[in-house]
């Protein structure tokens, strides 16, 4: 009702946040997120086991591939359940998905950390030279996650909302694959040819833009129906009412 009567007082929003924590945690799709994170990590662990026995080393490319399931799982996190209902509550409807994304962040960070440790496990301690810097990989992972979240949130605001993650994953992974393979974008987003510093800057810029898009989409209140409702469906204004 507050949604219909005007702006909510900022202080009341803040006061409500502690009360929201429990339902946000409980409605968080933990199983989905953890399945995605574990799937990639197990895949990498198997590779690491084979690598140790075969005297070769995992590369950052292996970690990138192993991070894809976690990115895919993230697409199912920001889905706003019962959105028409939550729009009528005093708390903005974007708070719950935003909170769930915040909860997902440490899980994803831990996944990335574990996978980098798994990669290091295959590198002999007496190996010559420095291991490649991981900051560009972390930037890429952040960018991938942000693009995926933006895609998921945008799909959530379309008529395919019930398939949010399932549509967002192919879209975002396809976009990432295209960016990786099209020479014009690869020269900026993939190193080499781009420098690690350039790759990092580019992916954080993409992440910032994607987060801005995510914020705008989350705060969007309007439903969208891309297709005319079937004849006789309740959403269509009855002729008698029109008269």
């Amino acid at each position: 009702m507050h949604e219909l009567t005007g702006r909510r007082p900022r202080r009341s929003r803040l006061r409500a946040l502690p009360w929201l924590a429990r339902p946000v945690i409980r409605t968080m799709p933990w199983a989905t997120l953890l399945t995605g994170c574990l799937a990639g990590t197990v895949f990498l662990a198997i590779q690491a086991h084979v690598a140790r026995n075969s005297s070769w080393q995992l590369q950052q490319g292996n970690v990138r591939l192993a991070l894809l399931p976690a990115v895919a799982a993230l697409a199912f996190v920001p889905g706003a359940a019962f959105r028409p209902l939550t729009l009528t509550t005093p708390i903005p409807s974007w708070v719950a998905p935003a909170g769930q994304l915040l909860l997902a962040s440490p899980v994803l960070a831990a996944t990335c950390w574990v996978q980098l440790r798994v990669m290091n496990y295959t590198i002999p301690t007496h190996a010559l030279g420095h291991a490649p810097a991981v900051y560009s990989l972390i930037a890429q992972f952040t960018g991938w996650c942000s693009v995926t979240v933006a895609a998921a949130v945008c799909v959530d605001r379309s008529r395919y909302a019930d398939l949010g993650g399932a549509v967002a994953v192919p879209v975002s992974l396809g976009a990432i694959a295209a960016a990786w393979n099209i020479p014009a974008s690869a020269s900026v987003l993939v190193g080499p040819p781009a420098t690690a510093h350039g790759v990092t800057t580019a992916w954080y810029a993409i992440a910032a833009a994607a987060l801005a898009l995510t914020g705008a989409a989350m705060r969007d209140h309007w439903h969208r129906y891309g297709r005319t409702a079937p004849r006789g469906f309740a959403l269509r204004t009855p002729r008698s009412a029109a008269r």
Binding site: T35, G36, Q47, V50, S54, L68, A72, A166, P170
Partner: protein
């Protein structure tokens, strides 16, 4: 009753097929698969024995999308919380699952469209060889098998992430060469990481084992459909029938797997190795003036593309060069590829390895009047073809002016640097006139170092700024040791020469052609003879004050002295 059920399955299959063929994911997968195939065929003149397999890689992308779409369709009742409502329908869950499996016929047109369109584009781009129908059919079976797997997954796991994860697993399996060694890599749905199809001079029987792989995929499709039905069917008799069918499908898969694990016929590998080690024994040579073009059978269509830059360089020479130039295709084959040699006696593998090591593509020393072209690297069109033409023109011009492809003295077989030599500028000028690349592209070769900086080579006690010509490092033209290293000074003088009338330069060159070919003749003398100032380059690296020049920071290369 059975007829009624069959008609119900057909009806449901028709509905599901129409939904599947209009599914946005499937259409996106079709686009993605087509895009992947285009990325491959856009780079070089397509070889059918390679491209047929890559069209299958495009089908893999489509298959991933179909897997997700089929899983979403099959998991629809559970995901929407309508399982109880669906259970009240006259059609049983097993009938609906059979409808989903029948609905996979909806993706066959998409798969055929991908294969057909890709084949048409490949043929239009002048593909060499003939399409392999079995490999192409294998790609279609891959899509159907992925869809059947999606139905089986959706029948049990309704969450959309399940389909996504299995699709990712399907993709990651294509590169599982690190886990599956030797021929076992062919057992994954579609191996796209380990093969040398792109460098073969012709198809090799059993590489890849296409027929057996298609059989394996058909077995997987049937097995997945059986699993999907087994999850939903009720009744011991039906389950027993499905179990028997499942055992038969597993048997077919095992049989197909065993066929794929067989070694490639020894006669085929023997023939391939002899073609690689002694190309002259099979190649067809075409003489054109002072040049012989020796190409593998079937590659004759590349001849016209090769002749143009060579002819245009030779036409501008003041005097014909002495010996005949041979432009020969070579195969950069690696016998350490276990997909090629698995199951063969070690004595044979060792013998083949020795033969291939001594092949022209791998030999350290190259005949002076020969230019090598690696099979599978010549571009079909566009900017890459322009770069390749420049590379070939430059190699021809360097041969014509006598710059050796590698150092003949000590250290032997290393690329040399024609520092300050007039003949280098002449060679670059000839190549520019023959192929007319854009000035920007040529100039970009001065800034190919890190962060757009310059690159250099150490020669003696100095560091010489180098120039990367268009297409350098792409292996369009192969010289053992990498060929001579072009310098920035040579390019700068050649660039200045292009601004002069051609007849003026020809007159100067013709007057003392022998002198200009001598490696002792400096580029400053040529500039003076042409009446142009010696181009000045911006400082590259300065020697530390009071110390020796910083030549040690760059790789040392010998001076071209022959």
């Amino acid at each position: 009753m059975t007829t009624l059920r069959f008609r119900t399955v057909l009806g449901l299959g028709w509905v599901e097929a129409s939904l599947l063929i209009r599914n946005l994911l499937v259409l996106a997968g079709l686009l993605g698969g087509g895009g992947l195939v285009w990325l491959i065929i856009d780079q070089t003149v397509p070889l059918w024995w390679n491209v047929s397999w890559w069209i299958g890689a495009g089908q893999l992308i489509l298959g991933m999308a179909v897997l997700i779409a089929a899983q979403l369709a099959a998991g629809r009742p559970q995901r929407a919380g309508l399982a109880d409502l669906y259970a009240s329908f006259p059609a049983s869950a097993a009938t609906r699952t059979a409808g989903h499996v029948a609905g996979l016929t909806g993706v066959v047109p998409a798969s055929l469209l991908l294969a057909g369109a890709a084949s048409a584009v490949v043929q239009a781009r002048g593909a060499i060889g003939a399409p392999d129908a079995v490999v192409l059919a294998g790609g279609v079976l891959l899509v159907i098998a992925a869809g059947a797997a999606g139905v089986a997954i959706g029948a049990r796991l309704s969450h959309p992430l399940a389909g996504v994860l299995f699709a990712l697993a399907l993709f990651l399996s294509s590169g599982a060469y690190q886990v599956l060694s030797r021929a076992a890599i062919w057992l994954v749905p579609w191996n796209i990481m380990v093969n040398q199809l792109d460098v073969l001079p012709g198809p090799l029987a059993g590489y890849p084992p296409a027929g057996a792989h298609a059989l394996e995929l058909a077995g997987f499709a049937v097995l997945a459909a059986i699993v999907a039905l087994a999850v939903t069917v009720r009744g011991a008799r039906a389950r027993a029938g499905l179990a028997a069918a499942g055992i038969a499908a597993v048997a077919v898969i095992c049989f197909a797997g065993a066929l794929q694990l067989r070694p490639i016929p020894t006669a085929g590998v023997n023939r391939l190795v002899s073609e690689v080690a002694d190309p002259a024994s099979v190649q067809r040579c075409t003489a054109a003036g002072q040049v012989r073009y020796c190409l593998y059978p079937g590659f004759g269509s590349e001849l016209a593309s090769l002749r143009a830059p060579v002819r245009d360089v030779l036409a501008r020479l003041p005097a014909p060069p002495g010996p005949v130039l041979t432009i020969r295709q070579v195969v950069p084959l690696s016998m350490s590829d276990w997909t090629l040699t698995h199951g063969q006696p070690s004595s044979d593998v060792s013998r083949w390895g020795t033969q291939v090591e001594n092949a022209p593509a791998n030999a350290a020393a190259a005949p002076k009047a020969t230019i090598y072209l690696p099979v599978g690297s010549w571009p079909a069109a566009g900017g890459q073809l322009a770069d390749a033409n420049f590379d070939l023109a430059l190699a021809t011009a360097e041969w014509a002016v006598g710059i050796p492809p590698q150092n003949s003295g000590s250290p032997a077989f290393q690329p040399c640097v024609p520092v300050g030599q007039a003949r280098e500028a002449i060679a670059i000028w000839l190549a520019i006139l023959a192929t007319r690349p854009s000035a920007d592209k040529l100039h970009d070769g001065l800034n190919t170092g890190m962060g757009g900086g310059s690159t250099g080579a150490g020669v003696g006690n100095t560091i010489v700024q180098t120039w990367s010509y268009p297409g350098m490092g792409r292996d369009y033209v192969m010289a053992p040791g990498g060929g001579p290293q072009t310098t920035a000074a040579g390019y700068a003088l050649a660039s200045a020469m292009t601004s002069l009338p051609q007849h003026q330069i020809s007159r100067v060159l013709t007057a003392a052609w022998g002198k200009w070919l001598n490696w002792h003749t400096p580029d400053t003398l040529l500039a003076r003879a042409l009446g142009i100032p010696t181009p000045r380059l911006r400082p590259f690296l300065s020697a530390p004050s009071g110390g020796a020049p910083a030549a040690s920071s760059a790789a040392q290369s010998p001076l071209c002295t022959s």
